[in-house]
Symmetry: D2
Subunit: 265 residues, 4 copies
């Protein structure tokens, strides 16, 4: 066995180590049972929950997602999906902290419009700054701009989560070079968030050097969500191992003398 | 558990069922030990061996690959790598059959030139015809032309193996639409052979509906071949499961009314 | 003015020099008038005509395409569209030669099936051999396989015409590396034939070093065929000039030390 | 002639109509003479000049670019290349206004770092706001984020100029869907700025519906800049005409019933 296969390959968020690099959401499933089975099959240890759409206890008497996803077993990552300005995002994080016994880990997203669901990076930077000052540990959804990613890190966000493609699009990684540049510059974990559509997309994200991938629709909207969750688990592991294994240099032909000879004309 | 996860998902070659859809070669490793460990990590059940480059017993007194890869455990798939005309390919298959106790399963490849290693499909068709008449069970390496693939099937080849990209290039699937068309038209197994470079490439091949993937350089020329073999095993499983799970329809935005609205302009 | 702009940049087919590198077909237009105006706007000097679908005189009393496209002004290139075997293609070429006063220039296409319209390269090679022996000057439609392209050249074809994508698909160049390889190996003109969808596709074909581009649907099925013909004329010239001008080396960043540093991961 | 070819197809910047949609820079040429010949061949009517690198009169006694590029003939567009914060960018615009007799048209760029030359959109938004208040007519370089583009328009910028790829990279349009979304949402002209490498890239930008393209390195760093300038002129015209002509719908095969049937799997 090589060293790489013996060393545990984990990454760390807010002081806790995780071996699973696949983070999942809870939206769009048929029912609570399918949600639970898909999350189980995904192997995820971190599950994100939209505070404005899911009952974490704010509506007493209704089914509570925490009854299905025990905080003892999963890291519950409350997110601000559905917030279109900094103020409501900050308010939503504070509500989540209360509902989750003072836990300060949140995923911030401030969206720019309802049609594209692209982030509003200006409002995101503002909200991130306020949340960090208020003691939150902020994982942050953003576009794939390397400068914005660096600014979010400088503000004190503990993880930066650039989009692969628009939320819910399933288009895969539209701009791998940008994701790669973000990874190369970062000193905090980089996780691709949004836009993954199928297993190979998740593998590509990991091969680019990302620390993890977060997804929801790609699993929930598959014909068989539980089987797709299993596919995604393996794809993330495959991409991670390929990244660590160091892929062969691509060449036009086996006989080429230079690795990338002639790939552009 | 959904039905898909309970049913064994196997494919059949020459009357035998295989659960592993990753086929590997034995070339370019540092030594026999690394070869064995990488093949072990890949989970492959079918291992292809270049008859003209590897000792299957034709050179007595030299190390024999069959001592490392037991035919009891692996299906040994002799191939005609290094043959540039139909006659030498046919002759090589006959030699392999003798060395392997009359087993008639072979992988035919007839190459067009030493620089590109593209197949010579005209010579391949000719050799395939002769081999089938002579009782061989022919898996055949070819280009990604759907008409040639159909002709090889009509001749009686038991599996058609289109290239993803030139042998040893690691460029990944250059023309997914052609591979898809070959898969849609086929009544025999289609396996992508040659050109895979990293894990996501293997996943893509399986997501296109291929029955399997054969590779050698992508594993052997990785910095850590054993870890890459593990990555490829998971990637092939991930891609297969994603294919069976039925991926979400890609859309420009979650809010789009039509699945692929506006993806071309 | 640099030398490149002073030298006439022509290419030669069957002993005649052409300055226009855009070849067009005559199918799918609304009427003869639109056909004529689009061809005029394209600047084409070579126009291909499907012998089995167009009246070149074989049906006396019907409108004759040669009345609209004078052989004095245009090189009429009869083609074998609609032929699915070598014999009918050869027969069609002989008919064309008779109708065109013994002119022996033809475009050979032998298709593999009606659904994909991919060429049958085996039948194409056979028909090409027979036509060359019979004194024809054969321009030949083929797939994008570099070995097949070389074999067609060796048989004596005077131009090789690989597809960009399936006929009538408008998908653009699916495998630029294959086209590039064909160009690098060739000693006869290489013209991309079939699959171009818009102006940039035609420019890409020329930037890969092709000698010309042949198209029909991309012009005829545009909303405004005459304007699209003008666009294609300029795109072919633009791509050709860019090829001759020698493009800058792509780099990840202006500050990168190596031209293609890090474009694959 | 169709209507489209008769109507003059111009676009408007700061109240003036332009028929050329190719804007060029003046950097990286061998000498003033090559600069002038390339700009001539490009057909550009708007020429951008880096105020911090080029003498517009601020260094008396040195050669002045305005002697080569007469403001009577060209619209001189001073830009803030080399500025890494809002303040220096604003100051540079004010200097330009003085040097150019009070003309208030500027191209704003505020860069994020020297390695990637990506824009700092936060600083750009700030500088744009200040410049608009100060009476400038601001064309603004930005990333390809549709929300940022809309915010720059709302601030009052008169044209938004998203990058195709990093400045000086020549990588072409990395994320066509983002550019398309920006175009669809805009009420001001959208011009692709930075990253174009060859003629087809420029054609693609125009086919996406952009109003124009600005480039410098792709011309200046070509082996023959003057010929490349001519190629770019034709490519921009070709892409624009193709956009107006309405391209055919792409399909997998001519026989497909739906335009984009099966392009994703």
């Amino acid at each position: 066995m090589p060293n790489e296969m013996q060393t545990p390959d984990t990454f760390s968020i807010a002081g806790r180590d995780y071996h699973s690099r696949l983070l999942v959401g809870t939206g769009k499933y048929r029912d609570m049972d399918e949600t639970a089975r898909a999350i189980e099959a995904s192997g995820a240890q971190i599950v994100t929950v939209a505070v404005r759409r899911t009952n974490l206890g704010q509506t007493p008497g209704e089914p509570n997602i925490l009854d299905v996803l025990s905080p003892d077993r999963y890291t519950i990552l409350p997110n601000t999906a559905g917030c279109y300005d900094a103020e409501s995002a900050v308010r939503t994080c504070r509500l989540a902290r209360e509902l989750l016994d003072g836990r300060s880990l949140v995923k911030l997203e401030v969206l720019g419009d309802e049609k594209t669901l692209f982030p509003d990076v200006l409002a995101t930077l503002k909200a991130a700054e306020e949340l960090v000052k208020d003691g939150f540990q902020v994982m942050v959804y953003t576009n794939d701009d390397p400068i914005v990613a660096r600014q979010l890190e400088e503000i004190g966000c503990i993880a930066v989560m650039p989009l692969a493609a628009p939320i819910g699009s399933g288009l895969g990684i539209r701009n791998p070079l940008n994701i790669r540049t973000i990874v190369e510059n970062a000193r905090v974990p980089i996780l691709v968030d949004a836009g993954v559509g199928t297993a190979s997309d998740a593998a590509v994200a990991m091969e680019l050097g990302c620390d993890g991938v977060l997804m929801n629709t790609a699993i929930a909207a598959a014909r068989d969500p539980v089987l797709m969750a299993s596919a995604m688990r393996k794809a993330v592991e495959a991409g991670r191992e390929a990244y660590r294994a160091g892929r062969m240099a691509p060449k036009r032909f086996a006989s080429a003398s230079s690795p990338i000879e002639g790939l552009f004309f």
